[in-house]
């Protein structure tokens, strides 16, 4: 049960290397790439735009629709293209992670679409997708009350760690994976899932770790968003 050292030499509370870029898909209203270690997500936001069929429209607010998809070649064993039960669920929790920060009431009867594509996977893909999607929404100019960053925390062997890689997720003697999304200013938890076994204290400790990690991710997101406007100014 003892997990004494991370294979990639990271400290238990250390994230993998992060990079982010905004404006990676020209046709989209907003777009972004988010990379953490070997996991790469790209996201595009479209809208607010007309929602069809009409009965799906909400006269009080915009509908946020997220779609998470893994490229067939992003994993070691080819994933059949198209949706799966897993991707449908992740799409749903992604919507819930992002909806609370968007001023959806401003755009009744419309839809805001977010498409997330994982092009390289090494654990933490839903969190990378959420971090990318939040930037894409901001880049699309959609009014947001706050920013969202996400990271997975968990327990590997006997240690509470942040940003598990695939090797750690598959840790033989057991690993608990806890994806967490946090809003930047209000520190609201908008995504929380758990898969494994932890005590209450361990969970609270893990959430604290996620909070620290999300702050770091948020800085990278802010930087990437500023970068794109700087480029726009020069160009």
């Amino acid at each position: 049960m003892v997990y004494s050292k991370r294979e990639d030499g990271r400290k238990f509370d250390e994230l993998r290397e992060i990079s982010a870029k905004v404006g990676v898909i020209k046709r989209a209203d907003g777009s972004a790439m988010f990379q953490i270690g070997d996991t790469i997500a790209i996201a595009a936001a479209y809208g607010p735009r007309e929602l069809h069929p009409k009965f799906l429209q909400n006269p009080e607010r915009a509908v946020l629709r997220c779609n998470y998809d893994m490229a067939s070649f992003s994993v070691t064993e080819r994933k059949k293209p198209g949706p799966s039960r897993r991707s449908v669920e992740i799409s749903l929790v992604t919507e819930k992670a992002l909806a609370s920060v968007i001023d959806l009431e401003l755009f009744p009867n419309t839809v805001i679409d977010v498409f997330i594509q994982i092009i390289q996977a090494n654990a933490g893909t839903r969190c990378a997708g959420i971090s990318a999607a939040a930037m894409a929404l901001a880049h699309a100019g959609i009014p947001m009350r706050d920013m969202v960053a996400a990271v997975s925390v968990g327990k590997v062997g006997d240690k509470i760690v942040i940003d598990l890689d695939k090797h750690e997720e598959d840790f033989e003697e057991g690993a608990t994976d806890i994806p967490v999304a946090l809003t930047a200013r209000n520190k609201e938890i908008t995504l929380l899932q758990l898969d494994g076994e932890v005590t209450k204290d361990e969970l609270m400790q893990a959430i604290k770790l996620a909070r620290k990690g999300c702050e770091e991710i948020h800085n990278v997101q802010t930087q990437a968003l500023k970068e794109v406007y700087r480029e726009d100014k020069d160009g």
Binding site: I25, R27, Y46, A71, R78, I119, Q120
Partner: protein
Amino acid sequence: MDNEYIISLVDQGKRLDGRKFDQHREISVEINISKNSEGSARCKIGDTEVLVGVKMDVGTPYPDSPDEGSIVVTTELSPIASPDFELGPPGVDAVEIARIVDRGIRESKAVDFKKLCIIPGEKCWIFFIDIYSINDDGNLIDASALGTLAALKNTRFAKLENDKVVFGDFTDKKVELEKTPVTFTFVKIKSGILLDPHTREEKAAEARLSVAVHNGKIYAMQKGGDKGFTESEIEVMLDLAIKKEKDLKKIIEKAK
């Protein structure tokens, strides 16, 4: 209507972005963009971008070709790439692109399927070539074909143990390409023949032709659009494709 504007430009011998009729946008190809695949590439033509990944598995040869492996090409026209694309199973446009790319590789024998045989009649390699559109700014066909070629050219074989793939393990053995057929897509707008159409040009087009060439020979073609071409128009497109073949080859050779 936008189409009328595009047509009026063509009448004046002009294009939206100032290109000549027979000129490509800037093309760039990057390889090994996804670590878990046996081969992968990103191809950009102007703002159009596709990702191509090659994954391998072991399958059973077809009864009529017991000593050959095979390829399966799939295209996802993901709504990430364009407000015009919708979620759902591949539609007719996606299937057409996959078929054109498939034919360019298969009919030219760019990959020798016999070399993909492991045990005749029993086991062979199957290459899954999956193409994802990331940004559609027109001419996804050529971006897909070029990206596929670049990905295949830089594909290593997966590791086998007892005739099963060890997922995540790769060998140093590269896929050999016997030929590198490059694809050129043209559209006809009024009397103008335009290479590498932009999305708005595609919408205004009456007819479309894609041609795959290697060493001056033609290996695959596909005509699209509601109207037809004259013989002399076809000749113009073939000549141009043959003339420009080297330019695209260079881009693939240099891809990093």
